[in-house]
Amino acid sequence: MSPLSRLLGSIALTAVSAAGTVAAWAADPDKVLRIEFYVAETGFDPVKVQDYYSQEVNEGIFDPLMTYDYLARPAKLVPRAAEAMPTIADEAKTYTFKIMKGIYFSDDPAFKGKRRELTAEDYVYSIKRFKDPANKSPYESFIDGITGLEQLKKQAEKTGKFNYDTKVSGVHALDRYTLQIKLKETDYNFSYIMALPNFGAVAREVIEAYPDDTNGHPIGTGPYRLKEWKRSNKIILEANPEFRGFTWHFEPGSDPLDKQIVAAMEGRKMPQIGRVEISVIEEQQAAWLAFQNNELDILYLREQFAPVALPNNQPNPALVKQGVTLNRITDPDINYTYINTTDPVFGGFTKEKIALRRAIWMSFDNAEYIRVIRKGQAIEAQYPIPPNVLGHDPAYRSVAPYDPVLANKLLDYFGYKRGSDGYRTWPDGTPLVWRYSSTPSSRDREIDELWQKSTERIGIRIQVAKNKFPEELKQERACQLLSRTAAWIADYPDGDDFMQLFYGPNSHQNNSSCFQLAEWDRIYEKTRSMPDSPERNRLYRQLWRMVEVNGVTKMHDTRVRNMLVQPQVVGYKKHPILLAEWMYFDMDGSRRQP
C-alpha cells in the first residue's frame, strides 16, 4: 500500500471508530414496546430484590457475566459481559472470567462527566455487596460457596460497617479485565449463578453516591436504562446510548418458529427497540382488555382468561383475525404437596406410615387439579425436574398415581379401620386427623376443597389449618408444619436446583418437607460433584425413587406460560429462563393492525 493510501486509510479508520463511539448501534426510539406487570416491582438494586418483575427490569439494565442463548432449547449458557466461556479448573473450584473490553456504564453525575469503563473490580465489588449485612440480600446464599467472604461478613456484623477494600482470595481481579473466583467445593453450576440478573455489575461510585436509594438509581452497562419511574404504576426504559450493541446471530433449533425468527432477524444490529413502557396492571381483566385494544404488545395471559382467549389452547378467532400469535412454553417449575417425615405422628419410615402417606397421594387427582385450578394451563409433573431443565426424565412414572381403589385397599391392609363415623383411625384405634396448611387466598381455598374431596375418597379426616404466608414459612423452616402445597421455580436450568430440595442439611431452609435420610444424602452428595451426564441422571432417578417409595411428596404439575403477541412484534420467542428478551427482538409498526 502506498503511504498516501495508508494515511487515508488510517484517517478513515479513526473517523469510523470515532463515529463508532457515538451511537453506531443506536436503537430506534420510535420502536416502543408496551408490556405489563401483574404485580408491582419493588426496586432496581440487583442485590436487594428477589421478585420476578424487579429482576426482569434489572436484566435489561445490568450486565451479568453470562446469559443464555436466545433460541437454544434446552437453555444454553453463553457469555454476556464476559468475552468467552469461563476457564474452569481444579475440579470446578476455580473459575476465571475475562471481561470484554470497551463496555461502558450509562452516564450518571456520580461519574463526574467521565466515561466509565466496566472492569473486573466492578464484579468483585458487586459480589461482595451480597455479603454486606446492611443489604440483607435475599440472594446471599447463592455465593456461599466463595471462599473468604464469611470473614468479611462476620467483621461487618461486629463493627457495623462492611469493608469493601479488603482483598478476598475467593473473588479478586487478576488484572483490569480478568476476574477469578475460588470456591470451597466442586460446583459445576457456578456459571449459571453468574447468569442471574442479580449478579449484574454495578459501579461503586453510584452506590456510594446514593446510599439511601440504590433502588431508584440503577446505573448499569446493559442495553437499557431507567428513564422514568412512577412506583407501582409505570416504568419507562430507554436504550442506553453507551451500550456496545451486538449483531443478531443465533442458530435455529428444531422449532419451526426459530426459522421464521432467523429469517427476520439474522444480521440485524441490536437492540432495535428504543423504548420499553411497562405498566403495572394488577387487575387481570384490565390487562386482557388493554391487550385486545392493542394498548399492549405482549401479554402474559393468566389462567382466568385462558378459557376465553385460548379455546383448545389456540388463540380464539377474534385474536387470530387481529393477527395475534401465541407463544406457549412450560415454566421450569414444580408444584408439590409434602408430608413432613420428621413429624412424630405422620412421619417415620415404618410400613404403616409409608402406606398411609402413599395412600393419601394416591387419592388426589392431578388431572382434576389441572382442569379446575389451572384451567388446563399446566402439564402433570411426575419427576421433580421439569422439562427443559438438565436432568429431566420424560419417561419416569410415579409410584403413586391417582388410584383411590388401590389406596383404600392399602389402608385396609395396614389396619386403618373405619370408625363409626366412616373415617379411618390409626391401627391402634386412636382418631386420625391429617393437618394440611394453606393461606387464606381464594386459590388456596380451591385447592383445600380438592384435598377435602380426595381424603373423602379414602376415608381420611382432614383438618385445614389457615395461616398467613410468612407464618407458614416460619413454621415450615422450624420443621413444625405437617403438610403444605409448595412450589419451586428454577434459578438456573440444572436438575441440581431441584434435587437439593430434598437434601437433609437443607432442612430449615428450602427442604420444605424436612426429609432426612442418611443414605439419600450420601447419594445426592455424589451427584453434586458430577456435571450433567447419563450417570448423574441414573443417580437422580434412584434418588427420586427413594423419595416416592417413602411417600414424602406428591408431584402435581408444571405450569404453562401463555404469551400473546401482537403482529407488530417481530422475532419474539419466550425464553424459559431469561426474563427480559427485549434486546433480542424487533418491532415493525407497518404490521400493526388499526
Binding site: T42, K136, R231, K474, H508
Partner: protein, 283 residues
C-alpha cells in the same frame, strides 16, 4: 369554654395512647414476621436473624413500642420494608390521582343527587317517584365490583368511549380522559343512597316551616301527637334538628321553649314520630 376545650384536648391523649397500643399489638400479633418473606428462597437462620436485626424487630417489644410512639409524635412514617420507599412519599404520590377521582365525584354526586331529590320530592307519591326509588334500591344493592367489571367491558372496551386502563402525566388529561370512567362508576354507586337521603330531607323540610338545620332554638309549629304526660309545660315545643347529614345518628332533641345547652332528653313524643318518619324514609 376554654376549660372545656382544654379538657377535651387532654382527654385526647389517653385515647391516642390506647389507639397506638392497639395498632401496635394488632400489627405485631396478627401481622406476622416479615423476615421470612423478605429472606428469599434459600436462607439460613442467621440470615433471617440479620434481617430482623436490620428491621429492628428483634428488639424487645417495649423498645419497639417506644420507637413507634416516637415515630407517631414526629409524624415519621418510615420507609417500606420491601421497597425502601419513604411512606410519606408513597402517600404523597398516591394522593394526587386519588383526589383527581374523588373530588369531581363528590361535587358531581352532590349536585346531581340534590337536583334529582328536589325533582323527585316535588312529584312525591307519583309513579315517577316510586320508580326512581325502586331503581335506586336496586342500584345500590349491586356491588361496586360488578359495576367496575361490567362498565370497563362495555363502555371502555366494547364502545371505546373511555380508555381501558392507564394514567397520564398532565392534570387535565387525567381529569378528562382517565378519571372519567372511575368517576362515572362512582356516581352510579353513590347517587342512589344520596338521592334517597336528600329526598327525605327535602320532604321533611316541606312539613316544617322554620325548622333550621343546626337547631338550638327552633320550634315546630306542629303539635306533638303523643304527649307522654310530661310534667310542667303546657304544650311541649319540639325542636327538631338534624345536626348533620350523618346517616346513622340523627339526633332529635326535644326541649322546652328556649334551651341553654344541648339537652338530649327525648321526653316528648315528637321524637318518636319524627324518628319513625326519618327511619321509614331511609332503608
Amino acid at each position: 369554654m376554654t376549660a372545656y376545650i382544654i379538657r377535651r384536648l387532654w382527654q385526647m391523649i389517653p385515647t391516642l395512647l390506647g389507639v397506638i397500643l392497639l395498632v401496635f399489638v394488632l400489627f405485631n400479633w396478627i401481622g406476622g414476621d416479615p423476615a421470612y418473606v423478605l429472606a428469599g428462597k434459600i436462607s439460613s437462620a442467621e440470615q433471617i436473624e440479620n434481617i430482623r436485626r436490620q428491621l429492628g424487630v428483634d428488639q424487645p417489644y417495649y423498645v419497639q413500642l417506644w420507637i413507634f410512639i416516637k415515630q407517631v409524635l414526629t409524624a415519621d412514617f418510615g420507609a417500606s420494608w420491601s421497597t425502601n420507599e419513604a411512606v410519606s412519599h408513597i402517600m404523597a404520590t398516591r394522593l394526587g390521582p386519588s383526589l383527581t377521582v374523588l373530588i369531581p365525584l363528590l361535587i358531581l354526586s352532590t349536585i346531581i343527587a340534590i337536583g334529582l331529590a328536589l325533582g323527585v320530592a316535588y312529584v312525591r307519591g307519583s309513579l315517577t317517584d316510586r320508580v326512581v326509588m325502586i331503581v335506586c334500591t336496586v342500584g345500590l344493592s349491586i356491588s361496586i365490583l360488578v359495576y367496575i367489571i361490567v362498565f370497563q367491558y362495555f363502555f371502555a372496551y366494547k364502545l371505546g368511549w373511555f380508555p381501558v386502563q392507564g394514567w397520564g402525566d398532565s392534570f387535565w388529561q387525567n381529569l378528562v380522559v382517565y378519571a372519567s370512567l372511575p368517576v362515572l362508576i362512582g356516581l352510579v354507586v353513590s347517587i342512589a343512597p344520596d338521592l334517597r337521603l336528600f329526598r327525605t330531607f327535602v320532604l321533611d323540610s316541606r312539613f316544617k316551616a322554620g325548622a333550621t338545620v343546626s337547631g338550638r332554638t327552633s320550634s315546630c309549629t306542629r303539635r306533638c301527637p303523643f304527649s307522654s304526660g310530661s310534667s310542667s309545660a303546657s304544650h311541649p315545643t319540639c325542636a327538631c334538628s338534624a345536626p348533620s347529614f350523618s346517616m346513622r345518628s340523627i339526633r332529635i332533641t326535644c326541649a322546652r321553649r328556649v334551651q341553654k345547652g344541648f339537652r338530649k332528653t327525648a321526653s316528648c313524643g315528637c321524637t318518636c314520630s319524627a324518628t319513625r318518619r326519618f327511619q321509614s324514609s331511609r332503608t
